[in-house]
């Protein structure tokens, strides 16, 4: 019981931080710039979290993640401008579009392993990017899409900084919770087995191909949701937002935070979004400073700022995802 209690306490504390303390602090500062950076950090936390499932947990090196982010953003932008749908519809539909594309491209690549798979995802990312750039009739090509509707939900105008932040924070928290349950469970363990030795996992009766496709689809879904959030908060999207550099940025977040660790991925996203902004006063040197931080973190904490082992330990013991105990008090497995 005390495990459960502690878990509730942590969850409440976390939610209070995101939905009370952070907005209160941001309101006190009264700077829309801070709100904007907070929204961006949350969106990238979701992107890093979604990539964590595929690259960290399932061990499939994904080099084209930004493309699914782009598919979601374009789906949301087109649904909002052409069909006049509000955020309540564009968010899930953007996720579904990205998931559909992710599953479709996952099907032919599932037999590829390690570096070959990585190169295949790189190619897929480039293909989707070129489609956004050149399918002028639909995506308007290099001219991008402007969303005049902005953030609207059930007739409410959510374009003020506070409501926008709350929408982004709520969406990201729910999404991260789902990703948490997927990666810290039997399901997550199966994905980890796949990463460590997929033949062995296969021999143990784990359907590896199905698992990989599912992980890819779920990851694509949440990347698409993040894309929809970006489209609605920025009000204008164009292909360069979803280029290869963005994929690498997301990958760097996952690696710096700790491969296979969801809190690590979130922390990595916060660092790589907040640090370049915080270093603005250093002018031209800020990119070098960010590079040095990245390099130092890989050099000194190669397992990531919050490594997988400590992340799993935290999830099990603190979040009451602890091993269920049998009558004699021996641990027998995930709750």
């Amino acid at each position: 019981m005390s495990d459960r209690f502690r878990a509730r306490l942590i969850a409440i504390g976390f939610l209070a931080l995101v939905f009370v303390a952070a907005p209160a602090a941001l309101t006190a500062f009264g700077k829309s710039y801070y709100w904007q950076v907070a929204d961006l950090a949350l969106i990238f936390a979701l992107l890093a979290g979604s990539m964590h499932l595929v690259t960290g947990v399932a061990g499939l090196l994904q080099l084209g993640h930004a493309a699914f982010y782009g598919v979601g953003a374009y789906a949301a932008a087109l649904l909002a401008t052409k069909a006049g749908l509000s955020l309540a519809f564009t968010l899930p539909l953007a996720g579904l579009s990205a998931a559909t594309i992710a599953v479709l491209v996952a099907l032919p690549t599932m037999r590829l392993v390690s570096i070959y798979f990585a190169v295949a995802t790189l190619a897929i990312g480039q293909m989707l990017y070129l489609i956004m750039l050149n399918w002028v009739e639909v995506t308007k090509g290099p001219n991008g899409i402007m969303l005049f509707s902005g953030m609207k939900f059930a007739g409410l105008d959510l374009s003020r900084p506070l409501p926008t932040y709350l929408v982004v924070a709520a969406t990201v928290c729910v999404s991260l919770f789902v990703l948490h349950r997927l990666s810290h469970s039997y399901y997550g363990n199966a994905l980890r087995a796949l990463r460590e030795d997929d033949q062995c996992a296969d021999a143990m009766g784990v359907d590896t191909v199905r698992l990989k496709i599912e992980a890819f689809g779920v990851s694509g879904f949440f990347a698409g949701v993040a894309g929809a959030l970006w489209a609605h908060t920025a009000g204008f999207i164009s292909p360069p937002d979803f280029s290869f550099q963005t994929s690498i940025l997301i990958l760097a977040m996952v690696v710096v935070g700790g491969l296979g660790s969801l809190p690590g991925a979130v922390l990595g996203a916060f660092i790589l979004i907040l640090l370049p902004e915080a270093l603005r006063p250093f002018g031209d040197f800020r990119n070098i400073a960010v590079g040095v931080v990245l390099f130092a973190s890989i050099l000194f904490v190669p397992k990531g700022l919050i490594g997988e082992v400590s992340a799993l330990d935290f999830a099990r013991r603190q979040l009451a995802g602890a091993w269920r105990r049998d009558g004699a008090g021996a641990e027998i497995g995930w709750r």
Partner: protein
């Protein structure tokens, strides 16, 4: 260690005193968002140099107030551009913003400026919808809506009746073709061939052969200097000698370096010529050369120089106590502003009407011509 600390303290005190003296005059701030790092850094760095020249002149001209420009690096990345826009909007002392470089980042940032009510003047955003976003967006680069008809009339005046058109397959290329063709047909001309190509095309020969078969009097082209050089070289290789006209997008010293003698005789429009004897232009060219190892300024730095000066003039007219609204209204009133890229007037749609210059490549140089 102690002496170092002491030296640092003295330096800080001196800096503080210096800034205190500078505070004698009221300070007006402007924001400039531009790529200072990343793939397009070379453009942003040039903009900053041009802006610094313009600003130094303005501040040393004995005005009753002092202007500061806050430069922020957007890396041509929309997510950074939007954050910068918020930052500028938060700073109550900033009354106007310049930039960004690319249309994409300019337009993403424009959403913030539109909502917050901040005048934004881009030196280069060429997207057809940019100035339509809100009454707060301005640009001082010509669009094809002005250049196309101008070129059509010019080519008609040169006696061409049958013209072939080619342009790159981008939305800009689409506007090149449509704006030119409409006017040329209206003037009684005939467009015998019209086709798009992908930017960076290596082999123009099939296209040139097709054009030659139609026997046009001249070719009108919408491309940047890289494609222009390829096209002109391959035309020479095929022995095709049809006169070529182009837009100011191809106007770049690099064109002559890349195409060499094959660029001779190409006609194009331009808004800025470093060889222009106008003292304003020569003044800018001299100042620029002093700051950049004697290299001639291109069209883009000149655009930035004018954009900053137009903004400064609007701020001056809105003084004393300029506000964002006042600066916007004064920007909108900009009429026949004498810049290095010619005179600029903002129309009711906040698009610039510029005086275009007719030029031709002669003896390895862009030379102004009457016709």
């Amino acid at each position: 260690m102690k002496t170092k600390l002491f030296a640092a303290a003295v330096a800080a005190a001196a800096a503080f005193a210096g800034s205190a003296f500078a505070q004698d005059k009221p300070v007006v701030k402007l924001g400039y968002q531009l790529p200072l790092t990343g793939n397009t850094a070379q453009y942003g760095q040039d903009f900053r140099t041009a802006a610094e020249i313009a600003l130094a002149r303005f501040n040393s001209a004995g005005k009753p107030f002092k202007v500061e420009i806050v430069f922020e690096d957007s890396r041509s990345d929309a997510k950074e551009g939007v954050a910068i826009a918020r930052k500028f909007v938060d700073d109550k002392a900033i009354v106007g913003v310049l930039g960004d470089f690319t249309s994409g980042v300019s337009m993403a940032s424009a959403q913030v400026y539109k909502e917050a009510g901040m005048p934004q003047l881009s030196q280069t955003a060429s997207h057809p919808d940019y100035a339509k976003i809100s009454p707060w967006q301005f640009r001082n680069i010509t669009t094809q809506a002005q250049e196309g008809p101008y070129n059509a009339d010019w080519m008609k005046a040169r006696g061409y009746k049958k013209v072939a058109i080619i342009a790159e397959q981008t939305d800009w290329g689409q506007t090149v073709v449509s704006n030119f063709a409409d006017e040329f047909k209206k003037a009684g001309g005939q467009v015998v061939f019209s086709e798009f190509f992908n930017r960076g095309l290596a082999d123009f020969r099939p296209l040139i052969a097709k054009i030659a078969r139609e026997k046009p009097d001249a070719i009108y082209t919408g491309f940047f200097y890289e494609d222009a050089a390829q096209f002109l070289k391959q035309m020479k290789q095929l022995g095709v000698t049809i006169p070529v006209h182009s837009t100011s997008a191809a106007y770049n010293q690099q064109l002559i370096q890349l195409a060499g003698a094959d660029a001779e005789g190409m006609h194009l429009t331009a808004t800025f010529l470093p060889s222009n004897p106008d003292p304003k232009v020569q003044d800018f060219v001299t100042a620029w050369k002093a700051k950049s190892n004697g290299v001639d300024p291109g069209q883009f730095p000149a655009q930035a120089f004018d954009a900053v000066n137009i903004m400064l003039a609007a701020v001056e007219r809105a003084s004393p106590n300029p506000t964002r609204e006042k600066v916007r209204d004064e920007l909108a009133k900009t009429k026949a502003f004498p810049g290095v890229t010619g005179e600029t007037t903002f129309g009711p749609d906040r698009e610039p009407a510029k005086k275009l210059a007719k030029t031709v490549v002669r003896n390895g140089q862009f030379v102004a011509v009457e016709n």
